[in-house]
């Protein structure tokens, strides 16, 4: 399933400036996209557009075309979009239903709303809990989970819906390193199951290591897009107010002048690039 944006602009009701300005994107099935940008660059708005919350929930002026499998999202009911595009919110407290008392009931919440057969709900819940390594916690009270577990539960509740695309808006922003690793592992599991993933994230080192393609936003526009190395090597990236991965930044500070695709993103790559591989081996 593909999701395409063609010259899309959006202005929130009651505001004058465009949150998203003339954005064109083509999300290919099964790929992992990272989205970076400074605060106010339009990342969350882009997520809302991907998930159909714009224009179905959040009101404003939407120009251009957003199409899910060639069909404009404005013409698809939001509950149908919800079965095809999953959305993981920044804060799991916002994502979770607040009306369930068990982890497995929370995962089943959306499936029950959509009226799936009972057996299928049970099967999907079991699968989602296993994939997200929450099976042992299935009878726990959701709000007794740790931050990382809670965010994994949010991902599981989306995964259970079997969406083709999962959009995640800074899911690790409130997590410690352990929680962050858990969520990135969950994302890797999603990707392994063939789901298209769009991940908005500030932790560029982790993004660089995982995504197929990076989309850099600035003032509501796509400033650069491509492989992580190409985006981080781009001269315009430095003006976005977003950090590069530490090793990429170090290489550029040291005067890196090679092909963009050779930009080091890890210590090993950096040492190899500067000929310290033998030293490292010693």
């Amino acid at each position: 399933m593909g999701l395409t944006l063609t010259h899309v602009s959006f202005t929130y009701q009651g505001t004058a400036s465009k949150a998203i300005d003339d954005v064109s994107l083509d999300l290919q099935p099964g790929r992992f996209y990272g989205v970076v940008g400074a605060t106010g660059a339009g990342k969350s708005t882009l997520c809302h557009i991907f998930s159909g919350l714009i224009p179905h929930f959040l009101k404003g002026s939407l120009d251009g075309e957003v199409a899910l499998d060639g069909q404009p999202t404005s013409a698809i009911p939001i509950d149908e979009i919800a079965t095809r595009v999953g959305y993981v919110f920044q804060n799991p407290f916002d994502q979770l239903s607040h009306i369930t008392y068990r982890v497995d009931d929370e995962v089943a919440f959306g499936l029950q709303n959509f009226g799936l057969p009972r057996d299928e709900i049970v099967a999907r819940v079991t699968h989602a809990l296993e994939v997200l390594r929450l099976a042992d916690l299935r009878d726990r009270y959701p709000f007794h989970l740790s931050g990382g577990q809670l965010q994994r539960l949010a991902v599981a509740s989306v995964l259970a819906m079997s969406p083709d695309i999962v959009v995640m808006d800074e899911p690790t922003s409130q997590l410690d390193p352990q929680g962050t690793r858990e969520v990135f592992q969950a994302v890797a599991d999603l990707r392994a199951s063939g789901v298209t993933v769009v991940l908005v994230e500030h932790k560029v080192d982790l993004l660089a290591a995982h995504v197929d393609e990076l989309i850099a936003l600035g003032d509501g526009r796509v400033v650069c897009q491509g492989s992580p190395r190409a985006v981080f090597a781009s001269p315009v990236f430095g003006d976005l107010g977003v950090n590069r991965p530490q090793m990429a930044e170090l290489a550029l500070q040291l005067g890196f002048a090679g092909e963009a695709e050779a930009l080091p993103l890890s210590p090993t790559e950096l040492m190899k690039h500067y000929g310290f591989e033998a030293l490292h081996a010693d």
Partner: protein
């Protein structure tokens, strides 16, 4: 899937016949009992109602939980009602107890007693439902009876939001303390410490409402499709008779009240 998660609720798991009853039957019991307590005015009838609630709480095995949840409030309420009504209720009445210039009047004490019994009955009947029914089952029953899912959501979310509110309040207090706010000491100091909490807590909660509404939308909560329930709520064989009996009791109480006997 079975319901066993009880954190964040008053629900007490158990195997009594009250626990086994369908939530709507228990709701009917609570409604009838509360209605009866409002209809009757005579003290013996109010006492009988309160006693019947005690019996149900005992048979359900949640008597201790009921006391833990309500005892301190009921004792305080009883004390204040007795003092205020006993000392200050207007009208001629025999003096029950004279303490210096203060006269504890019989009419006031009887009125306070009827108020206490009525409140006890209402709280007790409501808690029979809450203590013996898992909230998820209660809401499922309400929705299956035809109520809007939004009603069920409001009911459960009101109970469930507390963990988030507590966590949010804790973060705000920690932030305020780190900037020198004192939240310990005398009652006045503690009260002052709460003032800076109210604004951020209220505003922050309002801000999260939109995000929650978006999440519910994205999870199909507002869809018009027919919902599936993973759990099944069973009716016990004796419940139809119990419902009829409850209806008969209510009609009987109304008749007695009209005749001036209750």
């Amino acid at each position: 899937m079975t319901v066993s998660g009880t954190s964040g609720t008053l629900f007490q798991a158990g195997a009594s016949f009250v626990h086994a009853a369908h939530p709507t039957t228990k709701l009917l019991y609570a409604v009838v009992t509360i209605a009866c307590s409002l209809v009757v005015t005579r003290l013996p009838f109010l006492a009988a109602l309160a006693l019947s609630v005690c019996v149900v709480l005992y048979l359900a095995g949640v008597w201790r939980a009921f006391l833990r949840a309500t005892a301190r409030y009921l004792v305080l309420l009883t004390f204040f009602l007795l003092v205020i009504q006993g000392l200050f209720r207007e009208g001629p009445s025999a003096v029950l107890l004279q303490i210096g210039p203060a006269s504890l009047k019989t009419a006031g004490v009887l009125f306070a007693a009827s108020m206490v019994l009525r409140i006890f009955t209402m709280v007790g009947a409501f808690l029979v439902v809450v203590l013996t029914t898992h909230p998820a089952d209660l809401v499922q029953a309400i929705e299956q009876a035809g109520a809007s899912p939004r009603v069920g959501y409001l009911l459960l979310a009101t109970l469930q939001l507390s963990p988030e509110m507590v966590e949010r309040a804790r973060r705000i207090i920690d932030a305020q303390r780190s900037r020198g706010l004192r939240t310990d000491g005398s009652l006045v100091m503690r009260f002052r410490g709460l003032v800076p909490l109210v604004g951020p807590l209220f505003y922050g909660s309002l801000m999260s409402v939109e995000a929650k509404a978006m999440a519910l939308t994205a999870r199909g909560f507002f869809t018009q499709r027919r919902k599936t329930w993973v759990r099944t709520l069973a009716h016990q064989p004796w419940e139809p008779a119990a419902r009829i009996a409850l209806g008969a009791v209510f009609v009987g109480v109304v008749v007695l009240r009209v005749l001036g006997w209750a």
